[in-house]
Symmetry: C2
Subunit: 345 residues, 2 copies
DNA sequence: GTTAGCACTCAAGGGCGGAGAGTGCTAACA
DNA sequence: TGTTAGCACTCTCCGCCCTTGAGTGCTAAC
């Protein structure tokens, strides 16, 4: 990116910023008079109009119809987010609110994640989503197999950070509960300290040697475990918040937004894709999903023990309060990272 | 209930039924001419008007304004559901659809529940909810404790029917992983075949005797397990369907409906409360939640091995297609019961 | 370069009238 | 005595017109 002042002079920037700020608050097209009246502007409406005309030509503003004010284009939001947003800081009350509601006495990761999603949605009044910590990349401490019925067992994977995940797997009917217990011990012993993803190839020979004829079955089980452990869960809260915004007062539009949220697959993909960039912002058509073409999605990552282990984000109308959302996300990312770092030892 | 023909003669019944049927399809007030035109009616609009006037006086019909048709009151819906609904039967296509989408090859209870909820919502186009099988009342086959970090462990309860549930519990820091394993074996041995709910008092003395000084800690752990096992989970699908109905085109109304669904606590309560009646119907203000006062909730139970183990239901506008919904619910209840009975051996 | 002034555009909202759906009453009919 | 035709009446809905007001773009003057 070249220096943006070569693209837009300072005055245009200030005017554009004023328009975006105003539009974010009111959702109504902004006129030249409104901008001119801002105490720090000191220019007549006529001058503003000339500048607005230029900004429209440059693609930063759009006009719903001739005699309406202007609304920001996606291009304007991108510029706004990157170069001219007031990076809001949380008020003391807000910080206090987070501290108070992220109950650090809770000892279960899932519960902490749910609380985080709730707080995120409540504070922003948009839809929030939090990816539960990902096992991939963590080291396995223990894998327990619990016989449930003939043909099925529950696999519980515990990582060295204390993150757990469990799933039902099918097992060969030939295996007795005792066999399962033996295998459970064996694979824990062999896999201990390895990453689950890399474990199978590297550890299989050893296991194969020890379990003899049932090696194939065990091998399949391990693959089954790996497969189910790489599935991601995401906690989504506050989908109905979208109905608070006039952009979505049309039932049909709200319907397709909510349906997209409910399936969750796109959002899940976004969170996964963004799980290595500290903060990502997708504006409008940046989103592949047509149902979210009037939405923005902002995500941040969170860590435990200095390593990224998950991400969370907010979905709202493109006209969202970027400054506030980003501030809340940053703060929450730190809080959650702290809590998890302690919680997961 | 006394014989209803003493309350309403046959003709009034037929007219009321015609009105309810029509209103369910169109959501528009029904006039005398519309009713009269039905091929099986054979009465002039004027006659119908007289009867409608009576029905209004009796509280079965309401009039939005003088020159509009009539709409059914809650009282009418109750009568309709109890005495005059055409108990719809599923078409072959519909039965086929269910068979096809309830994939019996799936071996995990949770997955089956999710599929059921999806099918239920897709077929009715209302919001569906399915309670996951309840452990209470089942007999414990196995309780495994898996050490996760110092101070916490995962408890996995497996019942004799193969239903599982797991949760994190905190454990006294004094216990080593070996202790935990020992205790895990011990409680499985002692609790095996008992109901979890009744197990603790009856089994505690034996356990107390064997674990010696750590008895109190173990006791607390067991209570913790019991507490978390009695928590219920419910799968909700298709909340956004409500936006397809003109009654909820008002964003504010849709908002409060969706918020109520999202918290889920009321619906969960309804499902729990109804988990011993084969089919229950709550119409309008039967629902305690003010946000659901224009909704009806219909639930059925499902079984495994001849015993009720859970329930599911549908939430929609009071003007819902009761016949269809009840038919789908009945059919699905049987299907799910069959699948679970096989699945849980 | 900035601004005042002015003609022009367009959406939103209020008022009005007709159309249409539906009712309730009355009187006639079987 | 129950049923029906007829009719006056009531309301909502919809389209129409007009006004209002916000906002623009252009021009000419500062």
């Amino acid at each position: 990116m070249s220096d943006i002042t070569s693209l837009l002079d300072i005055r245009k920037m200030r005017i554009l910023q004023a328009i975006v700020d105003d539009y974010i608050m009111t959702a109504a097209p902004v006129g030249s008079r409104t901008v001119s009246k801002r105490s720090d502007m000191g220019l007549s409406p006529a001058t503003i109009r000339n500048e607005m005309s230029d900004l429209t030509e440059l693609g930063f503003l759009e006009q719903p119809h001739t005699s309406a004010g202007r609304i920001p284009s996606e291009k304007a939001y991108r510029l706004y987010v990157n170069h001219m947003m007031d990076q809001a800081k949380l008020t003391d009350d807000e910080a206090e609110y987070i501290k108070h509601h992220l109950d650090t006495r809770v000892h279960e990761v899932g519960e902490v994640i749910r609380q985080t999603a709730k707080v995120l949605s409540d504070m922003t009044n948009y839809t929030s989503m939090v990816l539960v910590p990902q096992l991939s990349g963590m080291k396995v401490k223990r894998i327990s197999l619990i016989p449930v019925s003939e043909g099925s067992a529950m696999a519980v994977v515990v990582t060295n950070t204390g993150v757990t995940k469990n799933s039902m797997i099918s097992i060969p009917e030939s295996l007795t509960p005792e066999d399962i217990e033996k295998i459970s011990k064996l694979i824990t012993e062999k896999l201990d300290g390895h990453r689950l993803t890399e474990a199978i190839e590297s550890v299989l020979p050893a296991i194969r040697a020890e379990v003899g004829e049932q090696a194939d079955a065990v091998c399949e089980m391990l693959e089954d475990i790996e497969r189910s452990m790489s599935e991601t869960d995401v906690e989504v809260v506050g989908a109905s918040n979208i109905l608070d915004y006039p952009e979505y007062s049309d039932a049909q539009k709200a319907r397709s937004f909510l349906a997209e949220i409910e399936t969750g697959s796109y959002l899940q993909q976004v969170l996964k894709d963004s799980s290595d960039v500290e903060m990502s912002v997708r504006i409008g058509t940046d989103n592949d999903s047509p149902d979210l073409k009037d939405c923005s999605v902002i995500t941040v990552t969170y860590k435990a023990g200095g390593k990224n282990i998950g991400s969370m984000g907010v979905v709202g109308p493109t006209r969202m309060d970027y400054g506030k959302v980003m501030a809340v996300l940053k703060y929450l990312s730190n809080s959650l990272s702290d809590i998890l770092s302690k919680l997961l030892k």
